[in-house]
């Protein structure tokens, strides 16, 4: 008798709504654009520039930017700064990205299982989170980096180890409230397994906060990598990273300030761009204020 009548909205209106809200966030768009450009430059740039990042040109040491053949000048060994900056960008962005992926995976797993299972499982997992959070992050980072062989992979793992807890907490809180919803009960009524309910019914509903946390985690990871590399425990020369470029630049701050300024600007752009994107996504996903 009642056939389904009109649906006033396109199939994915919540999606398009999210996209629309994100697009109306100017800073987030700027951030997205900057990250896009930065990534593109790091991927393609080194092939277009005429120098190798390890090529030493002792006659052109300390060349200032925009003088001679080197666009951004050279470092104390006469290596081209532009190509080193882009190669360092590859490392720093990759470390940031994969540290994020790792911490999201771990945080998500811990959060979903802890939130859904509740009881002693939740207690054990969440107290572990508390335990990790109670270590001073930087100290832990430095201790681990000093104890272990600092390769890019190891640095990535170390950063992930110190930054998954936040994600775990966010996800756990969301899952705990979602699991009381009737659609989760319906899943149990249908006889779906616990894993199915956790990862295929509940998880898609937590993706919003997770994506926001992910962008903010990338920013944090890039900063952490720069931090430990600057202190000399991170990515080891001759492999360039934005952090160890700063490390090498500190003794020439007076004579060749561009050595510090250029990687510094790159870090600032990358980190603030990711933060802008994160802010934009957070606003875009915040459907709770929206009539649903």
């Amino acid at each position: 008798m009642t056939a389904l009548s009109a649906s006033q909205s396109p199939t994915h209106w919540w999606q398009s709504r999210v996209v629309k809200r994100f697009l109306s966030h100017r800073l987030a768009l700027l951030g997205l654009l900057m990250i896009g450009l930065l990534t593109l430059a790091c991927v393609v740039g080194p092939y277009l520039l005429p120098y190798d990042s390890l090529f030493i040109d002792l006659r052109a040491r300390f060349a200032a930017p925009f003088t001679g053949d080197h666009y951004l000048g050279t470092d104390p060994l006469g290596r081209d700064l532009a190509v080193r900056l882009l190669m360092a960008g590859r490392i720093s962005l990759l470390v940031g990205f994969f540290a994020m992926v790792l911490s999201i995976l771990v945080g998500m797993l811990v959060g979903v299982v802890g939130g859904y299972r509740g009881g002693w499982v939740n207690t054990v997992l969440m107290r572990t989170v508390d335990g990790f959070l109670s270590f001073p992050t930087i100290f832990l980072l430095l201790a681990l980096a000093a104890a272990l062989q600092p390769s890019p992979v190891m640095i990535t793992v170390i950063i992930a180890v110190t930054s998954w807890m936040e994600v775990a907490r966010i996800v756990e809180a969301e899952v705990r409230s979602l699991k009381e919803r009737e659609f989760v009960l319906a899943g149990r009524m249908l006889g779906l397994s616990g894993a199915h309910i956790m990862f295929r019914e509940i998880l898609p509903n937590v993706m919003g906060p997770i994506i926001v946390a992910a962008t903010l985690t990338v920013a944090r990871a890039i900063l952490l990598e720069a931090y430990i590399s600057f202190l000399g425990f991170g990515i080891q020369p001759p492999l360039p990273s934005w952090g160890n470029m700063l490390n090498g630049a500190q003794q020439y701050l007076d004579s060749a300030p561009w050595l510090a300024i250029i990687p510094g600007v790159a870090i600032t752009i990358a980190v603030s761009s990711f933060n802008f994107i994160g802010d934009g996504l957070r606003d875009a996903f915040d459907v709770r204020n929206d009539s649903f």
Partner: protein, 554 residues
Amino acid sequence: MTAKIQTVDKPDVALSVRGLTVKLPKGMERAHAVENISFDLHRGQILCVIGESGSGKSVTANTIMGILPKAIDITGGSIQLEGREIVGMGPEALRSLRGRVVSMIFQDPLSALNPLMTVGAQIDEAMQAHGVGTSTSRRERGIELLTEVGLPDPELMYHQYPFRLSGGQRQRVMIAMALALEPTILIADEPTTALDVTTQAQILELIREIQRRKGMSVLFITHDFGVVAEIADEVVVMEKGHVVEQGSASAVLTEPTHPYTQRLIAAVPHLTGVDRVALQTENTDPILKVEGLVKTYHSGSRIFGTHRVVPAVRNVSLELAPGQTLGVVGESGSGKSSLGRLLVKLMDADGGKILFDGTDIAPLHEAKFRPLRQKVQMIFQDPFASLNPRMTIGRILTVGPVAHGMAVAKARDEARALLDHVGLDSRAFDRYPHEFSGGQRQRIGIARALMFKPKLLIADEAVSALDVSIQAQILQLLDRIQRETGVSMIFITHDLRVASQICDRIAVMQKGQVVEQGPPSQIFLDPQSAYTRELVAAIPGEQPASSGPVAVDF
């Protein structure tokens, strides 16, 4: 503050709305929340505005109170409160009218009260905001008001926080607050919808009594024709932002002229007191037999001495014959929903037996019970929360059978067929839940429960969140499905009128126990327990003793 002389108004009109049009923001399903509506509230009368969800009745009330959200604008018409035009009035002037001339009580007394302030402080605040009285006189007045709305021990109540009060008591506090400044007009927006039927009857009685005593004019918003019959002098019927009919309560209720009103009134479930013609099945062994079922909730911590024990289900025994429907009725906190969840094993029982088709499923572990899950399915209460918002209807329907090993293609075909069967277009398959109305979603919920061809369906307040006209359709659908498939049903509801429509037998629950069981004719016409009698008597708009000729048979 001299009122202008109004030529259009008769002096006995307390509130007059003329040609009121309120615009909705762009992108909503219609352009106007209400369009060109007019009605008068006469002094000392109760005017009921009735309509289904989305009819614009609450927007009307909020417009009169001047508390519309910013995105919604009044685009035309006039509202006169005691002869004063309030459309276009400044916020300060409006504020001084609110509380003193017109006051409002809301649907949900819990969220309308500030949880961090005592009852007394909130009443005091209402008076203080208008600069009335001294702190001592306000306190006296507060206690006086609490006495007036029939709260026990008003002195003590004055210092209580809202969370310590029951729903009915909170609504009484709200009424006391609304009365604090002796307004001449009271607007009540669904004030009894969130309450149990016996509490609802008390609150309606209270509003009626206060209105008579004080000679107030009351604008009463409701969706329930039972409530209208109980309380209204005049009725305004609204549909999609328009007034379709108005007149005296007796005229509208007995001789509705507009087809929409006729349809609404026809859809109102009435106590039938006539037993349903039971479905005949060859096998009459009970499909479900519950014996001495017990569930107790524990909360707090034993160590910290905050341990609380709440018995939810106490020694419940039931029997359900195949192809029949057993209604479980009771007020909130009676344990009826806990019982439902125990039967589907969404919770484990603490004691007792649940014999399903001869097997005791109560002690079974999840893994052992999983194959049987397909035979026992549930329809949930909230059509908005019970469907995963991130999944298409197709996924929602097929995920269960596929997890139990059905081929995907077969599951899809069956899902499409079922969608058609429950009255939905099979194109719904690829859509998301938010694209459907409450009634349509409930049909999807029913289709999901039917995917396994279950032997037992448990409907937990399955129609409580729906408008009456939709409610009637869903009840018809459930009835049709039962007659076609022979499925047995347990129908959990707080609404006795609904239960009387669809059930072969009814069990009345109170405080975790079944106090009475029997066919509808017994429950409604010849109730054996005092509690059942109280419940039946509290149903709004019904006089069960004299209703229907069947009463003579008993």
